[in-house]
């Protein structure tokens, strides 16, 4: 085999190897940037073709139809854990019930000795207003210092405290 062919193959192989690394990093990048589209997408048109945009964009539209637009402006789109071991975790709100507790099948699994296994749940009522309900927990669920006794509507940014974990709803 001629020297030239081998040199071309040698450099070509290195180029291909690096191309794979770059493609892999691009895939990671698209994973990361998908987030931003998700966050902004809720304010734009719901029928956007992007996979990522539609996830968050669809529910507000759905909710808006039910509540006649009243809730649309102030509807929270995500639940954020602001204190505790899961700080920084966000869950997109899409009309589903979110369960909190130490049970392994909870939406948010709390690792906290002061939390009950099925501690509380957060769900939207018919008007799209998000409600927090304590599920008979031992140590109680607090909304802004007051202990919950009945299902209570959650104001935007109102801190919900369960043991050492604090969560809030944000736009």
């Amino acid at each position: 085999m001629s020297e030239l062919t081998l040199t071309v193959m040698r450099l070509g192989f290195l180029a291909v190897l690096w191309l794979f690394v770059i493609v892999a990093v691009q895939v990671i990048r698209s994973d990361l940037f998908g987030t931003r589209v998700t966050q902004r997408g809720s304010r734009r048109d719901a029928g956007r073709p992007q996979q990522t945009a539609r996830q968050q964009a669809a529910p507000p539209q759905q909710r808006g139809q039910q509540s006649g637009g009243r809730q649309r402006r102030n509807a929270p789109t995500k639940l954020v854990v602001t204190e505790g071991t899961l700080t920084g975790t966000t869950v997109a709100l899409q009309g589903q019930t979110i369960t909190l507790g130490r049970a392994h099948d909870s939406t948010i699994v709390l690792d906290d000795d002061y939390a009950s296994s099925r501690h509380a749940r957060i769900y939207p009522d018919r008007d799209g207003q998000w409600i927090v309900e304590d599920l008979g927990s031992t140590n109680g669920t607090y909304l802004d210092r007051s202990r919950l006794t009945t299902p209570t509507p959650i104001p935007l940014g109102g801190p919900i405290r369960i043991g050492k974990t604090v969560i809030e709803l944000r736009k």
């Binding site: 085999m1 062919t5 081998l6 040199t7 193959m9 040698r10 450099l11 070509g12 192989f13 290195l14 190897l17 690096w18 794979f20 690394v21 493609v23 892999a24 990093v25 895939v27 990671i28 698209s30 994973d31 990361l32 998908g34 987030t35 589209v37 998700t38 966050q39 996979q51 990522t52 539609r54 996830q55 968050q56 669809a58 529910p59 995500k78 899961l86 975790t89 966000t90 869950v91 997109a92 709100l93 899409q94 009309g95 589903q96 019930t97 979110i98 369960t99 392994h104 939406t107 948010i108 699994v109 690792d111 000795d113 749940r121 769900y123 309900e133 304590d134 599920l135 008979g136 006794t149």
Partner: protein, 479 residues
Amino acid sequence: MSSTSNTSTHHTSTIGSIGAPSRRNTELALLVFAVAIPVFAYANVGLAINDQVPPGLLSYGCGLGLLAGVGHLAVRKFAPYADPLLLPLATLLNGLGLVAIWRLDQSKLLQSLPNYVTAAPRQLLYTAMGIGLFIVVLIFLKDHRVLQRYTYISMFCALILLLLPLVPGLGANIYGAKIWIRVPGLGSLQPGEFAKIILAVFFAGYLMVKRDALALASRRFMGLYLPRGRDLGPILVVWGISILILVFETDLGTSLLFFGMFVIMLYVATERTSWIVFGLLMSAAGAVGVASFEPHVQQRVQAWLDPMREYTLSQQGVFGHSEQSMQALWAFGSGGTLGSGLGQGHSELIRFAANSDFILATFGEELGLAGIMAILLLYGLIVERGVRTALAARDPFGKLLAVGLSGAFALQVFVVAGGVMGLIPLTGMTMPFLAYGGSSVIANWALIGILIRISDTARRPAPSPASNPDAEMTQVVRP
């Protein structure tokens, strides 16, 4: 694919930090790429050594492609939301390893060695077994949280696996390190590779329960949180065990791997930097202490400090010395920036273990610094995806397990690459996926399987309890 996920998103939630739910087509495209690169390398080696495209190219390429395809289909079926990068990265590394092993099989020098075996077909078999175990993990491990139930059982299993090489008659002393066992009819096995995964399960389960005590009960001193004396218990026990491994199995790598993995997981569980400081101090003290009386460890340290002296002694025929470290360094040096080209180096001069412990030297010589950097980046990407999975996981056990597994993987790469490149003393561990060796390939495929399972659970839109009408009707009775 997208239409099905479109209809299902109405009643599901996703963790906001992660975008598209399923990236299976991306994975498939990357996988095709990851199989094409080793095939290219294989053709390149054949052209360089024999002046012709190797006759086995088609069967070899199809073999690797088939294995990767089966793995991909299993992921598509059993873990549809898994991370798209883990499988292609592992496949590429495994394929490159196969090419390098086949390339060393062609060397006349290695063929003339007394205990020569044709390694490439065996490695392909091990790869098939590894992907088989990978699929078994995906099928039977529906949810990684199940492993949490076996916290203490896995501790016993791991300890037994670690102690097996010391059982007389079963353990085998291969070139000074006692980390193998001989199973009659099957060949030799490195139980430490499997113990790594099982121990990660134990550490994750244990630390999840105990981390509050380890994190909160501490005093602040000079900017560090000092743990109470009695909280030092677990770290002291793990340290003691890793020192025992170092003394009785005389393998620095295994010892470093287990202790390092525990310290990484302890740090992640408690967020206390002091554990890392303690861990570094303790492992340094332990290594220096053992090296002061254990001759095998001493010799490894001397070979690390002065490889040239070791080489000269070996050339003079003094028993117990090896020219390998120096040969490996020369291999890296002669590779330069762009390497000598696949099949055109002389890494076979390293002789035995050229295709296992020292396989990185072959890449260093034939692909040069540019190639080695790419390969280390591939390892880095696997670790990054593991840590990313840990970040996305919604349960503490899954977080700790993913961090532990990717930390162990990273440590193993560091220990082996550092040993071959002369950064730390050489150990008897193997480069994951690249090196020839059944236990290593099979165990690491299982590790990737568990990571894929955790990432699938983490990225999967959560099944909605609201869709179940019973959940809405349940009322909580209050006094």
